[in-house]
Symmetry: C2
């Protein structure tokens, strides 16, 4: 396989937008194309992510319309991916596999979501369709409920009082808002404190409002390129050193909600391909859809032993300046979560970090970054390891 | 790239089913896996197609749940594709690209749709979301309307009276029902005559009821394999000799509705890769969502010059025994059209034809077959060329 890089990235501001999914994606895509010093006509395929377009805008089959809006050639096929929250990461992984294989030299990949056209309760109910429709949805469970159960189970498994766990979870929200306040594209650019988290509205016990990420509008896109081609075009290509994707079916086949098996398998594949250990990761964008989700992730990704990752934010170890900076963008929690765009935004953040272009939220000397995206209630995980050098 | 084959195929009966999308897909998938002489544990990835699951069953993120139902390993990622009617063909193409590249040796790909949970008018309206939501849907257009316009334009362009064109279109319906009557898995297994077509209910002038394919329930799946591995496992692996996929945006960028530009580009890529000309195709499954669509397809695929393909069925040239047999399965028209499954069913038919296992509808001596699937209103086309020998 050839070496593959991210040559360019683009991202809209995340938050509330008046634009359509296709308009937002075009904005991000044209930015990524310009950032790569190429033209739309150079793109050989579009790997397009969107999750709820049918419900948001009555728009299916969005990929060829985005393709046309960007001005891509007819010979560059446009393909839509949907893997719940992991949609864009999965699209990027497949694009990178095909560039690595020599099928394409230059591919555009990313995603878009216009989630705020629905109210938060309606969006929550709509997105709960990423749970199993026969065995989970009829119980009335939505994603806050799934992660609330995981929090109680975590507390029970590791003999931590739920009140103590909630305090550490609140510290994760505080950290990610601290990071988000330094990100001019974040949905929430405002710091909060633990009192605010713990006094918030209860969403699904023990998760309070600020334990939950928002639904956002936004798009992000990246250009994936053969490394040799990219060297001629851009100053700082970022190498894709390892990738993994794994699937673990509905909740009833999960043995332990606090161990995300698909993540353990996917991240192990990525570490193995990159030939590194978790200790070598300088910066990580991971799937903090809820504060407890960040705890589960830092453990499954190997930064902490199981049962030992819950107080990482409290100790400052995952904050800017810490040993492994987690979600310097603000994460889903503060940067926002436009479902189908999220993975591409995580990649964009890591690329900017590894280029040294992350401004106030720059992780000093970052050389190796990890992207982690979880789809649905533990059904899909996709991981990418990026490096500033090949 | 390595040589890639279809090692096994599986398909449910098409029609009206009480089963869920996941149940139907599992049935097709386990048949394809058994047909390949392997076990679910041997599968390294699932490329899963579904179009309207969110509307049919309130089910998004269906791929990992299908993955679990079939019993695939966690390390075999499940990825959903959606390219309107071309969904499964696009999934199969990407699977074949990655097997060819050596990323995987054995991949399961296909699709499922449970379209009849909606009434035909509701399904038509829902599926019209594969038109452009800003520029087409607000006009009230649905797919019968798009193809009705194409029929009038065809008649005008080539100076054929619409009444004459309708007669030739009816002959296509008659032919495909004649084929479907020989297919024990077809939605409609009953012959019709031109009188019945021409006296049918008007749907979108000039298209009458029997000019239109039905919405169906059903699933189909194939196992894509490295050719060397397959030789050890199955007697008649069918080679993927050429592939093409292309995208041409919304209707307002189409220069001429009777020339499907994405098909011209995609099929040319497939012919070129297979190093054959259209004349060498013995059997073709193409996208006859409406009778006029078959006319457009036989021309864009190169079987007939533009403006010369309209009376192919009337002359018997595309019927069993003709020079290029088109839609021996009955096509979308008679076999049925479970949207997300259609491409995989087309591949299944061609594989059975090239193996010489197509029973009463066998095309004698068929050695080279073509699959053609159109997604949306000309937005996506995906073509595959299959051969019985490498």
């Amino acid at each position: 396989m050839r070496k593959v890089v991210i040559a360019g990235v683009g991202m809209t501001p995340f938050g509330i937008s008046e634009k359509t999914n296709i308009e937002m994606f075009s904005e991000a895509a044209l930015t990524a194309i310009a950032d790569s010093n190429i033209e739309p006509a150079d793109i050989q395929a579009l790997f397009f992510g969107n999750c709820l377009g049918g419900f948001e805008e009555g728009q299916l089959h969005m990929a060829p319309f985005a393709h046309s809006a960007i001005g891509l050639p007819i010979s560059a096929p446009a393909t839509r991916f949907e893997s719940a929250c992991a949609t864009a990461t999965v699209a990027i992984r497949h694009a990178a596999l095909l560039v690595g294989a020599g099928v394409y030299d230059m591919v555009l990949a990313g995603g878009t979501e216009r989630a705020t056209v629905m109210s938060t309760p309606l969006a929550t109910r709509t997105f709960a369709m990423a749970s199993h429709a026969l065995y989970e949805s009829p119980t009335g469970i939505t994603f806050p409920g799934v992660f609330a159960m995981a929090a109680y189970l975590y507390a029970a498994n590791y003999h931590i009082h739920i009140k103590e766990l909630k305090l550490h979870m609140a510290e994760i929200a505080v950290k990610n808002h601290y990071h988000g306040a330094k990100n001019p594209k974040a949905h929430f650019q405002k710091e909060i404190d633990t009192d605010k988290v713990l006094n918030g509205m209860m969403v699904a016990d023990p998760l309070q409002l600020l334990d939950c990420c928002p639904f956002s509008d936004g798009a992000a896109a990246v250009v994936i390129m053969d490394a040799l081609k990219a060297k001629e075009l851009v100053k700082k290509p970022i190498y894709i050193a390892g990738m993994g994707q794994a699937s673990a079916g509905p909740l009833y086949v999960q043995k332990n909600l606090t161990r995300v098996r698909a993540r353990e398998v996917a991240s192990q594949a990525a570490y193995s391909q990159a030939n590194i250990s978790p200790k070598e990761i300088d910066v990580c964008e991971l799937h903090d859809c809820f504060t407890i989700a960040e705890i589960l992730a830092v453990e499954s990704l190997g930064f902490y032993e199981f049962g030992k990752g819950y107080d990482a934010a409290t100790k400052g170890e995952t904050r800017l300046g810490g040993k492994v900076v987690v979600n310097p963008s603000g994460g889903l929690k503060a940067k926002g979560h436009p479902i189908g765009a999220t993975g591409a935004a995580q990649v964009t953040e890591i690329v900017e970090q590894l280029r040294g272009e992350a401004g106030d939220r720059q992780v000093k000397g970052a050389k190796i970054g990890l992207v982690d995206t979880l789809g649905g209630d533990l059904g899909t995980v996709c991981n990418l390891i990026l490096r500033s050098e090949s």
